[in-house]
Amino acid sequence: MKTITVRYFAMFREHAGLSTETLSLAAETAADVFAATRERHGSTEPRGHCKVAINDVMVSWDSKVEDGDTVLLFPPVAGG
């Protein structure tokens, strides 16, 4: 198990009802963290246009997560 801090933004934060939580997860990749939080909060948003960062660096969903990482989950964006 790894200790992962997850940060939620915009609709993810509203859906989870919190902006940050620290979880104990058996996750290997960023995609695993996304799946675990989806299940945890009963979210139905598809991963399609979402993005993810680990420790403030944008990464792909198959990037590995390490014990102590902070994973940022970004719902679909709409600037401007």
Partner: protein
């Protein structure tokens, strides 16, 4: 350079910062909050940004624009917080020796800002509902 601002954007101050004696053309784009989106009457908008990654992603966009359409100076400011109809949500300005590069770089920057930056927009409608908005390109693709 991108700046995230929680106070009103001041286009006249920003354009002065792009003055350059070699600049013959200046192009600016502003995104304004309008009263309608996809058939809903909009009362106001709420923007949220994750600033550290918005800034670093914008740096990449500015560098890409420079590669494609060499310009002299460029700036982007994006509002966050609650905005009313007519408020300026985003400002992009580019100065360049000639107008073609000014137009194209400005267009490139705003197009990419809208789909790549970690910025989210929530619309509040006249019927009391509200909703998070997907970027246009994403909405079309999904």
């Amino acid at each position: 350079m991108l700046t995230i601002s929680s106070t009103p954007i001041q286009p006249d101050v920003l354009r002065r910062r792009l003055f350059d004696p070699a600049a013959g053309g200046f192009c600016a784009f502003e995104g304004w909050v309008r009263n309608e989106n996809e058939g809903h009457t909009v009362l106001r908008l709420e923007y949220e940004a994750y600033e550290p990654l918005a800034v670093s992603e914008a740096d990449k966009i500015f560098a890409e624009a420079m590669d494609r359409f060499p310009y002299l100076q460029a700036l982007c400011v994006h509002r966050i917080g609650l905005l009313e109809i007519g408020d300026c949500a985003v400002w992009v300005g580019v100065s360049s020796p000639h107008r073609d590069a000014a137009f194209r770089a400005c267009r490139y920057i705003i197009d990419e800002v809208k789909v790549r930056l970690p910025i989210w927009k929530k619309e509040h409608y006249v019927d009391g509902n509200s909703g998070w908005v997907n970027c246009e390109r994403c909405a079309r693709a999904s």
